[in-house]
């Protein structure tokens, strides 16, 4: 190999053996392969396994049931059904394999060339394929067998062509995909002739889909050939094949079902084996060779017992319920089910929100802030659950709500604004229709009244031309318009708490500010409480009065926003504040970052979870869980060596 080819990035090594091993681990697929091999071998070896041949007539044992002498019974002429089945299988199975061989041999080159060459070649091949897909295969087959009566081989070749179009499509896809991959470009640049590229890379990638489609095509071919010979276009009597055996069975159906059952079961078993082999290959080979996404992981429900121990621990800090308190979280833990058991993403979170108040949850991604927000709205994704603690909203015991009360709570108490406003809209509905349904669902308004209310809402969120916007579909909106509609939707039900999960992250900076001031003014005008989830102190400062800082699933600091931004007590809060772009005045210094990264849920240490990234950590920090302690009435922190309180940390606080 010369230097140029040696420099080509090598695609992942051929995992043929790995794939085979994985396939064999699938019991059903392996069993199917064995079953198919046994049936095929038995048919091939029929003369050795049986005596007397398929056409030995014994009128004394006409239509006998299964017995030791005739394992499957006999047909009307007393011929042994098992013998006929095995001899017939030679014809039937051979025909099916010929058909699928022709189908694969025709379609693979066409599919590879279409996918790899692209352009007009692709268009011609795909048009031909479209036409082929629309041909009535059964009638075309009848035309062929009727014209060339007796020449079944020709008919099988024709059938192979008829079954080719779906395989062409399935080969073209991976060929098209592999063309765009880097290592193929690299091979072209390295000067490898394209013939070799096709051979080495493309064919390997399409092998999986071809095997899958080949197995399915064989199953379909089997049904076609059996169907044709059932209609009388098969083996010439008295020679057996499965279709003619089923036809003979149907003649004597009122006397004995055995001839019909034996033929059908043989056909069904082989088809079943082929389909399961195809499924098995799809599971291992298509993933390994073509890089298709893996199957969804199995999920288990978390057992509440696993985390129950946490709930029994004494509260870190009792939230003091004020008289106008709207929402209170008490030692709330949220977990998702994972393959190895429930995985906690937020633990022992306690705080409260008063009516009309505006509170932010701040933290890096992965710290559990969205999970807490979604838990409050009871909108955790599938597998997520409040596994410990309580959430009280007015009179609602939120964690236990189910059915009608849950729907009422979501409708009347809280509203939720999602991060991506576009994906939150049903793509098939005009936004006006969606809003009308929301308005109508609870208020019992007439259609006219509801439509008027929708326009009023759209005006409230300052959309120009409300009537025009109401007629649009989601894909006809800009991101900013979509988020305004998200807000209109949230206030449509007149909630007492509005939860906004990174409401401006997906938007342009210029639109961000407009959306935030809209949120702020609506919150004030309508007297709603607001819970804003954000990683951006700038966004928080524009809207909120109070902040909760979360780190690795824990609340590490909370208090008035003003206080926290000016006198952060937790080193993490301080570091987070230092990373604000607005605070950086000296362009020559490198951008401040927090070294390391948040440890993933499930890998949290026993002690302070920030210790490994903290400049001030001591052995004591790592030894035991750190409680949340009050700095003063309105400010709490989870730190053994809080800033400003124990010591001065000039270096950090200077910047903030």
């Amino acid at each position: 190999m010369n230097d140029a080819t040696a420099a080509v990035p090598v695609p992942p090594p051929n995992p043929l053996q790995t794939v085979l091993r994985q396939y064999l681990r699938n019991g059903l697929a392996t069993g199917s392969l064995i079953l198919l091999a046994v049936i095929a071998a038995a048919c091939v070896l029929a003369p050795l396994l049986t005596s007397g041949g398929p056409n030995q007539v014994d009128l004394g044992h006409s239509l006998a049931g299964p017995s030791a002498q005739h394992l499957l019974g006999t047909d009307q002429l007393g011929r042994d059904l098992l013998t006929r089945l095995l001899y017939g299988g030679r014809t039937t199975l051979l025909n099916a394999f010929v058909v699928s061989f022709v189908a694969v041999a025709v379609s693979v080159p066409l599919g590879v060339v279409a996918g790899y060459a692209g352009g007009w070649v692709d268009r011609v091949v795909m048009t031909v394929t479209d036409v082929g897909l629309s041909l009535p295969a059964m009638v075309v087959m009848l035309v062929v067998v009727s014209t060339f009566s007796g020449n079944l081989g020709l008919a099988m070749i024709a059938l192979g062509f008829l079954l080719a179009p779906p395989i062409v499509r399935n080969v073209r896809g991976p060929a098209l995909a592999v063309k765009g991959e880097l290592f193929v470009d690299a091979a072209v640049v390295a000067g490898l002739p394209s013939r070799r590229i096709i051979f080495r890379h493309v064919l390997l990638r399409v092998l999986g889909p071809v095997l899958v489609q080949g197995a399915l095509a064989t199953a379909i071919a089997l049904q076609f050939t059996v169907g044709l010979s059932f209609l009388g276009f098969g083996a010439k009597p008295p020679n057996p094949d499965w279709g003619s055996m089923i036809a003979e069975g149907s003649q004597v159906l009122n006397k004995s079902p055995w001839p019909l059952v034996s033929g059908g079961v043989a056909l069904g078993l082989v088809s079943l084996a082929l389909v399961l082999i195809g499924d098995g290959v799809r599971d291992v080979a298509v993933e390994a060779w073509s890089g298709a996404p893996t199957r969804r992981r199995r999920s288990r429900k978390p057992s509440p017992g696993v985390l129950a121990g946490r709930a029994q621990r004494p509260a870190d800090a009792e939230p003091t319920p004020a008289e106008e308190t709207l929402l209170t979280l008490h030692n709330v833990s949220v977990a998702y089910s994972a393959s190895d058991g429930p995985r906690c993403v937020a633990s022992d979170v306690s705080f409260s929100i008063a009516a009309g108040e505006s509170v932010a949850i701040v933290g890096e991604s992965g710290c559990g802030k969205s999970s807490i927000a979604r838990a409050i709205a009871r909108l955790l994704p599938h597998g997520g659950e409040i596994v410990a603690g309580s959430v009280r909203f007015d009179d609602y015991d939120v964690a236990t709500l189910e059915g009608r009360p849950l729907y009422d709570y979501r409708r009347n108490a809280v509203s939720y604004i999602a991060q991506d406003p576009m994906t939150a809209l049903d793509p098939t509905l005009r936004v006006g229709v969606l809003l009308r349904r929301i308005v109508q669902a609870g208020d019992g308004l007439s259609r006219k009244q509801a439509e008027a209310r929708v326009l009023e809402l759209l005006e409230q969120v300052q959309l120009p031309d409300p009537a025009g916007v109401a007629k649009r579909f989601p894909h006809e909106l800009s991101g900013g318009m979509a988020q305004r509609i998200g807000i209109a939707r949230a206030i449509a039900t007149r909630p007492r708490l509005l939860i906004a999960d990174e409401p401006t992250t997906a938007l342009d900076v210029t639109v961000q500010s407009e959306i935030l001031s809209l949120l702020r003014s609506l919150q004030k005008d309508l007297g709603m409480a607001l819970l804003l989830v954000s990683h951006d102190w700038g966004v928080v400062a524009q809207v909120c009065d109070r902040a909760l800082v979360m780190y690795a699933g824990e609340l590490v600091e909370h208090g008035k926003l003003n206080r926290i931004t000016h006198e952060p007590a937790h080193p993490y809060t301080s570091a987070l504040l230092a990373c604000r772009p607005a605070t950086i005045v000296d362009d020559d210094l490198p951008l401040p970052t927090i070294r390391g990264s948040v440890s993933a849920p499930g890998e949290w240490p026993t002690g302070c979870r920030f210790a490994s990234r903290c400049d001030f950590s001591t052995d004591q920090c790592r030894s035991a869980a750190v409680p949340l302690t009050e700095v003063d009435g309105e400010h709490s922190v989870r730190c053994l060596n809080p800033l400003r309180i124990g010591r001065e940390h000039e270096e950090v606080s200077e910047r903030v």
Binding site: T127, D130, V131, S134, L135, P136, A137, M138, V139, V140, L142, V143, V144, V145, S146, T147, F148, A219, G227, F230, L231, G232, F233, I246, L253, N254, P257, L260, V261, L267, G268, S271, L272, V275, L276, D279, R298, L379, P381, H382, Y407, D408, R410, R411, Y416, A418, T423, A424, D426, P427, T428, L429, R430, R437, A441, G442, F473, H475, R489, A492
Partner: protein, 313 residues
């Protein structure tokens, strides 16, 4: 949208040309002489030549094809040389049977399949597994064999339904339905399981999307979300597979009509194939192609209705 429909209709032209050309070419290369076959063993060379001239069979194949095409455009599909019957007429009398069978079969498969798929999508893993197994079983049981087993159990053993035969809808609606129950089941099982699997997969995918969460946040009940939003968004793949199975059922009628001795197009195709009546077969093939074109067009229109992005473009 309009471009899509035009493309579909344009594809229909080569499709019909290919099918008819295929049968014509096969007639030309087929061994044997149709006139000799019709006249039997007593035929003289003169009488054969006379009949060939009368039927236009001594013209070059291209001329014959052109004549056929000219007539086909006006709806005249020719006359069978075997039965001397007008192909158009033969098809006309048999079309209602096949249409009843295919339309009822599609309806049953879609209703049962969507119901089963919804239940398994929303009912957890075990029900999903059941649908998987049913889909494989439905796929591997050939419709004609299933039909025969139904005849054995429900007609021969229990006598609930007639084993064979067809009653026209106009003659007796009850009898019509009774005569179609078994054939429709035989045809619909495979389609129903395919629809169920597709529905399950599509519903699972849709129910995991962000807008479903947003609808929950609005306070809609699960039932409202599933039926008004989930199913609507999952409908495109379901409609696709329903279209495919409708087309497949026309092919299925060839075997099922033979099993139940129904006077439909499938049975006509089989008997024509047995007697070597290519003119008749050609007519049936053209009608089947038209059904494919109609089904694809219906599916495209449904896409436009279901997916606003297609509609606007």
């Amino acid at each position: 949208m309009i471009r899509l429909i035009v493309r579909r209709l344009l594809l229909a032209v080569p499709l019909l040309l290919i099918v008819s050309t295929l049968t014509f070419v096969l007639t030309a290369v087929a061994p044997g002489d149709p006139a000799a076959t019709i006249l039997g063993s007593s035929a003289t060379p003169e009488s054969i030549a006379a009949l060939n001239a009368k039927l236009g069979l001594d013209d070059p194949i291209v001329v014959q094809y052109w004549h056929w095409l000219e007539n086909a455009v006006t709806g005249d599909l020719g006359t069978s040389v075997v039965t001397s019957q007008s192909v158009g007429q033969a098809i006309g009398t048999r079309l209602p049977t096949t249409l009843s069978l295919v339309l009822l079969g599609t309806l049953v498969a879609a209703v049962v399949g969507i119901g089963l798929g919804m239940v398994s999508a929303l009912g957890g893993r075990r029900l999903g597994r059941v649908t998987d197994i049913l889909a494989v079983v439905g796929y591997v049981i050939p419709n004609f064999w299933l039909g025969l087993m139904l005849v054995y159990f429900l007609s021969v053993r229990l006598g609930w339904f007639p084993a064979t035969g067809y009653v026209g809808l106009g003659d007796s609606p009850g009898g019509w339905l009774r005569s179609l129950v078994l054939p429709v089941i035989a045809l619909a099982v495979m389609g129903a399981t395919a629809v169920a699997k597709q529905t399950r997969d599509a519903m699972r995918e849709v129910m995991g999307r962000e807008f479903i969460t947003a609808l929950r946040a609005d306070g809609f009940s699960e039932r409202q979300i599933v039926f008004r939003h989930g199913l609507r968004n999952a409908a495109i793949p379901i409609v696709t597979v329903t279209g495919v199975l409708f087309i497949g059922m026309f092919g299925g009628t060839v075997l099922v009509e033979s099993v139940f001795v129904l006077p439909g197009l499938g049975g006509l195709a089989v008997s024509s194939a047995q007697t070597g009546d290519l003119t008749m077969l050609q007519g049936v093939a053209v009608v089947f192609c038209l059904a494919v074109v109609a089904a694809n067009l219906a599916v495209d229109l449904a896409y436009g209705w279901l997916n606003p992005k297609v509609r606007v473009q």
